[in-house]
């Protein structure tokens, strides 16, 4: 199977690292969400490379299932964060909204 899975795993580690560093910068939320998503793909890339068993053999299905879960969780989290930001952007203009206690 050669060194290809190793190459992908190391690439995954690299992507995870640069994404994580970028997500900690003081930037627009959108940029930080992109960074967290990219960093997540880095971890997924590591996991999928760990599952790869070469051309002839079937890959390990467990990491695939884990990554599928991870992809769905990532989109849910990104969506919630973006919706929060949208709400924040709308707020100063329309302050009188149905309001409960503090």
């Amino acid at each position: 199977m050669g060194s290809s899975p190793l190459l992908y795993a190391v690439t995954g580690a690299l992507i995870f690292g640069i994404g994580l560093l970028a997500s900690l910068r003081d930037e627009a939320l959108l940029a930080r969400i992109i960074a967290i998503n990219i960093s997540g793909v880095g971890v997924f890339l590591m996991l999928v490379s760990f599952a790869y068993r070469g051309f002839e053999l079937a890959p390990d299905p467990i990491p695939h299932a884990l990554v599928l879960t991870g992809i769905v969780v990532a989109v849910a989290a990104s969506g919630l964060a973006l919706a929060l930001e949208k709400r924040l952007a709308e707020l100063p203009k329309s302050k009188t909204h149905k309001e409960d206690s503090p």
Partner: protein, 485 residues
């Protein structure tokens, strides 16, 4: 197969789904769910005390292939803590959110957060723990925004969400390294296999740093005061009392059960040092906080710090028996803080709801107007400072004597300084609240169910845990919690 574990995790999930389906029933349903949780928690701890250990292989698959749930004494104690605090906060939330629409939006998320907490406490699978952490982070952030139209609250909820995501990501990276190295995710299977390899060490660092973000240990604490200080009171109570605590619980599991061969005394001392900084710094910030809720949030930072100060002391204890006692003290401290901090937030919420603000310099007369809530705040203060007869007093006593026993006197200095500072910031609150304003128009009906939960929790923290500490110690010694320490 212990069905009780399924009851613990599935009842809140079902409650969430039912509250969503039948909003008009959700107030009553939530009360019922809280009661069921308390009974289940009680039964669980009782059966653990009689020496039964609980285990459930989900789907009937052996752990590794499938996912297992299990409860030992440590998990059982925390399940009970969560049941107590969430019942009190549930009773309180029914009155706190006066707008019915807000309550209908609140309950389904509230029970999802509860599901996440219980699922995390019982899970015995590393990746499953990651999913529960994500559920915890998302539902908690969503709850922070309930009923809020304030920019500040939304902004801190957003920051809380983002930091939680970074934490989970670090944790997931650690999980994937563990899987590559050992080929399994089951905690039971891993426990015997963990060896001292460079990859294991890196995995431990990744997992720990992910959880430390969620525990808000200095220097990863910056998100906590704003998030805990601006959420609705019942949510703040659960965030401060339970959510940070379950992340710490996971760290205990990792450090003392799973990765004990890799843990070095240097690492433990480093963690303890950060904890010590948190104790002092959090207390100082609490001393100068302008708002009551911020004070409570900074107090959480400093109280979480003590939990980390325990680590190097425990790691250095020579024999099994004293370690187990020390471990019991650590758990007692965590429980005591959980209950007392929830009481504090619920009490503050009463004042904030009635007065419309929680500024400490404008508290004059509040002891007169809300005697029950203020009494609860005072009692919670006793437990948080660690005065006798509270459980925290016993725990701190054990911490001090053990730090002397192991020749690490500096932890004693930290504990004493932190205690004095805590006393100072509570005296500040009490001093401000007891200023009388002369006769004032009586406040219109502050309902009992709004004030009682805080008082019950405060009494439990101050008297209940102090007097019941011995039996708690017995239960913890029974289970395996301190066994592998």
């Amino acid at each position: 197969m212990s069905t009780i574990l399924i009851v613990v995790v599935i009842v809140p999930l079902l409650a969430s789904l039912t509250c969503l389906m039948l909003p008009r029933l959700s107030d009553r349903l939530s009360l019922g769910t809280g009661l069921v949780q308390l009974i289940t928690g009680g039964l669980l701890i009782q059966s653990l005390a009689s020496g039964i250990s609980h285990f459930h292989e989900l789907g009937g698959w052996s752990p590794g292939l499938g996912i297992a749930l299990r409860a030992d004494a440590l998990a059982g104690a925390l399940v009970l803590l969560c049941a107590i605090v969430s019942l009190a906060a549930t009773v309180y939330a029914r009155r706190y959110f006066t707008c019915v629409e807000t309550r209908y939006r609140f309950w389904p998320l509230w029970w999802l957060l509860s599901t996440a907490i219980y699922a995390l406490l019982l899970s015995a699978d590393l990746f499953n723990l990651y999913v529960t952490l994500e559920l915890l982070g998302l539902s908690a952030a969503a709850l922070c925004t309930i009923g809020a139209a304030k920019t500040e609250a939304l902004r801190s909820a957003l920051r809380y969400l983002m930091l939680g995501l970074v934490g989970s990501l670090l944790f997931l990276a650690g999980v994937s390294m563990v899987y590559a190295e050992y080929g399994t995710l089951s905690l039971m299977a891993l426990a015997g296999q963990i060896a001292q390899t460079p990859a294991t060490l890196v995995a431990l660092l990744l997992l720990s740093s992910g959880l430390l973000v969620k525990c808000a240990l200095v220097p990863l604490h910056f998100w906590l005061p704003a998030a805990h200080g601006s959420a609705p009171a019942p949510v703040s109570a659960v965030l401060s009392a339970l959510v940070v605590k379950v992340a710490f619980y996971l760290l205990l599991r990792l450090w003392f059960e799973l990765f004990s061969p890799v843990m070095t005394s240097l690492f433990a001392t480093l963690i303890g040092g950060l904890g010590a900084i948190a104790v002092i710094w959090g207390s100082l910030r609490a001393l100068t906080a302008a708002r009551l809720k911020l004070l409570a949030a900074y107090s959480t930072l400093s109280q979480m710090g003590y939990l980390f100060v325990f680590i190097p002391v425990l790691a250095a204890l020579p024999d099994e028996e004293t370690r187990q006692l020390g471990f019991g003290a650590l758990v007692l401290f965590a429980l005591s803080h959980g209950i007392a901090k929830a009481a504090l937030f619920l009490g503050i919420g009463v004042i904030q709801l009635q007065v419309g603000h929680d500024r400490i310099d404008q508290l004059a007369g509040s002891a007169q107007r809300f005697p029950i809530a203020f009494f609860a705040i005072g009692l919670a203060g006793v437990a948080l400072v660690g005065l006798p007869p509270s459980g925290a007093f016993l725990a701190k006593w054990s911490l001090i004597s053990n730090s002397l026993l192991t020749g690490q006197w500096w932890w004693m200095v930290v504990t004493l300084t932190g205690t004095l500072l805590a006393a100072a910031y509570f005296i500040r609150v009490l001093g401000a609240g007891f200023v009388t304003l002369g006769p004032e128009a009586p406040v219109k009906g502050v309902g009992v169910s709004l004030q009682a939960p805080a008082l019950v929790l405060a009494c439990l923290a101050t008297f209940g845990l102090g007097l019941g500490a011995a039996s708690l110690w017995d239960v913890l010694a029974m289970g395996s919690a301190g066994g592998q320490l």
